[in-house]
Symmetry: C2
Subunit: 385 residues, 2 copies
């Protein structure tokens, strides 16, 4: 009887009843582990191990914000219960993958693969395979790396084929009959993509030529349109130390802020006509260009050798107004959902830092093993994350 009681008490310690709205998961890339953190008091709650190669790993959340799906570089898809801090399911679904998404209704998790290419769709509850979409193109003998995978309303997933230069819209409304609409010749080597917060516009950045490829998901008949034709990789031959991320983009009013590839500039796009509105000189090659949730500031981190620095752009003045140096290897940023604080991973210092976005004061520092991506549960409720 004493033993039973102890078990009951232990159980209620392990499965901690609390709201999950202020929780987050941060990737410890060198250690196959993640930390579960909370943003109300800025503390670490638990660690989960055994998640494989987590370089470039990302996360989406279940619709109830109890489970995190971790997409590892080694093709591992892991499902973590963030309340009990346990690994509840894991599948090694490919040899090399990069990124994933969760369907609008939260029932399907999609993973985009480098090797052997393609997209796989899993049941969010069990991680059983629901659909396998090979990324064959041309004479169907080749498969392409898949990048820029996002969710879109109507149980859709949208992604780009690096080798093929195509954008595909996958409709999973009928799980047994996935419907694919393909847009070909969209440009050379799309390297990443973004989708607007309303899920309407999908924009792929091109590495192989100038400009970006825009698809209006509300009007697929119009096809893909080339935008920012005077910008791009093809324009200058600077070495690119690290490919920027388009998913961490920024919108303020009608202006979108995106990293320029291989240039010390942030590009500003006027979303009313998709023209270039401005270029802002920054400290290095931008990697993530992320808006504070109110859109008044944009925070930028950089590739080597400038990855010890963050610059903050005022979106009204279109100018850098503040610079901070958290330490070496600032890899990622995540704003708290209503924007009062931002978390930064400082990989080479084995530390995560939290800043007040009004005063720029450092509010907390948490030890972490080579931290990279930071993901808060508010993502569960957003389109395209």
């Amino acid at each position: 009887m004493r033993y039973l009681l102890l078990s009951a008490l232990l159980l209620s310690t392990a499965i901690h009843a609390r709201g999950t709205g202020d929780l987050g998961v941060l990737i410890e890339r060198a250690d196959s582990s993640v930390q579960i953190v909370e943003t109300s008091n800025n503390t670490s709650l638990a660690r989960v191990n055994g998640l494989g190669d987590l370089s470039h790993a990302s996360i989406v959340y279940s619709r109830d914000a109890q489970f995190a799906y971790v997409f590892g570089r080694d093709g591992g898809l892991s499902k973590i219960d963030i309340l009990s801090a346990t690994l509840v399911a894991r599948t090694l679904q490919s040899g090399n993958s990069i990124g994933g998404a969760i369907s609008q209704d939260g029932r399907l998790v999609a993973v985009s693969n480098y090797k052997p290419g393609g997209v796989k769709i899993f049941d969010a509850e069990t991680l059983e395979l629901v659909a396998d979409i090979p990324s064959t193109y041309g004479d169907k003998q080749q498969t392409s790396k898949v990048i820029g995978l996002v969710d879109s309303p109507g149980q859709k997933f949208v992604f780009s084929l690096w080798d093929a230069g195509e954008i595909w819209v996958l409709d999973m409304s009928d799980q047994n009959n996935p419907a694919i609409q393909k847009f070909k010749a969209i440009g050379l080597n799309p390297y990443d993509a973004l989708i607007t917060g309303d899920g309407r516009y999908y924009i792929a950045g091109l590495f192989g030529e100038d400009g970006m490829a825009l698809l209006d998901l509300w009007d697929l008949d119009k096809g893909v349109k080339r935008i920012l034709p005077n910008y791009g990789r093809g324009e200058e031959k600077l070495p690119v130390y690290k490919m920027p991320h388009l998913e961490g983009w920024a919108v303020a009013g009608n202006l979108a802020f995106v990293p320029a590839v291989g240039r010390h500039e942030v590009l500003v796009i006027d979303m009313l006509n998709w023209s270039e509105a401005a270029r802002i000189k920054v400290h290095g090659q931008p990697i993530f260009v992320m808006a504070r949730p109110d859109g008044r500031q944009v925070w930028v981190n950089f590739a080597l050798p400038n990855n010890d620095t963050i610059q903050i752009i005022d979106t009204q003045r279109l100018a850098v107004v503040k610079q901070i140096k958290p330490g070496k290897g600032v890899l990622h940023m995540e704003f708290e959902p209503r924007g009062e604080e931002v978390w930064l991973s400082v990989r080479d210092e084995d530390r995560v830092e939290v800043y007040d976005t009004n005063t720029f004061e450092r509010k907390a520092a948490l030890p972490a093993k080579k931290p990279s991506g930071i993901f808060f549960t508010a993502r569960a409720h957003r389109i395209g994350l």
Copy 2:
């Protein structure tokens, strides 16, 4: 010992460990109760009683999405733990109140009062009074009803004074020294207000004269600007059966959709220049005009005698494309955070209904006692809700 074990087990039943991301609370206005519901399987989980007069009640959430703050019409402010379904704190803070808000950091809850007027600020943890802001105006002998209270970034609250025709911006950054900036002569009888999703523009609807009052919170020096001068209550003398709500407004791209007061129209505002872009004829006097989270549809309910009907506007075509009749007394709507389903309260039928927003198929119906407002926890992460 047996008793202790039982206690431990009962405790772990009552405090149910689960994610709170898919939870919501619906008001049962005639019964002083609320129901706790979940949107993954569309079921009711629990009921909490003893909440006073809940006509016109509304809710905000704690930043961890474990607690709901219920603002009752009788001045009651109740804090509910939605995991254990218990009332954890309650204060009768005025004689008659209407609405509240929670600060950006989640530490302060504000309530706006009709009688005796003013705004009270409470500690979100304990519900202890932090600040009392009387709404005196003119010769300081009078106090005004306060309406249109919203939160804004930087620990601010913004609200309007019905009797005084003023908008106040309250800065609670320093809790011991609330700072108030007052904008006077903004127009006659502001009746409700909205704030844009980025927390930048505050717009009060005027009941006593034409137009609406716009305040740019990023540039307070510019003062209040009158917009839509050709629209308003003063223009026609139709009887107004029920005051519309501006908080449940809609944005799609650059267009904002708001209910016209006392007219069978939804007004479309071009947010680039704040001019009237269109008027859409609808079935009755609109009450709530709410956008599906992707902004592609706007759902509208109506005042008596048309409150059995919902109309759905396509935001591209600016036309009503669908009409449904859920039953008598459709009082409120709440979209699931990513928009695949919408919940409707059908008061006179003692029922809440859930619809697929793509097919318009009814997916579920739940019994509820005179349901009115429905509020999902994703609100915890949004500005101005």
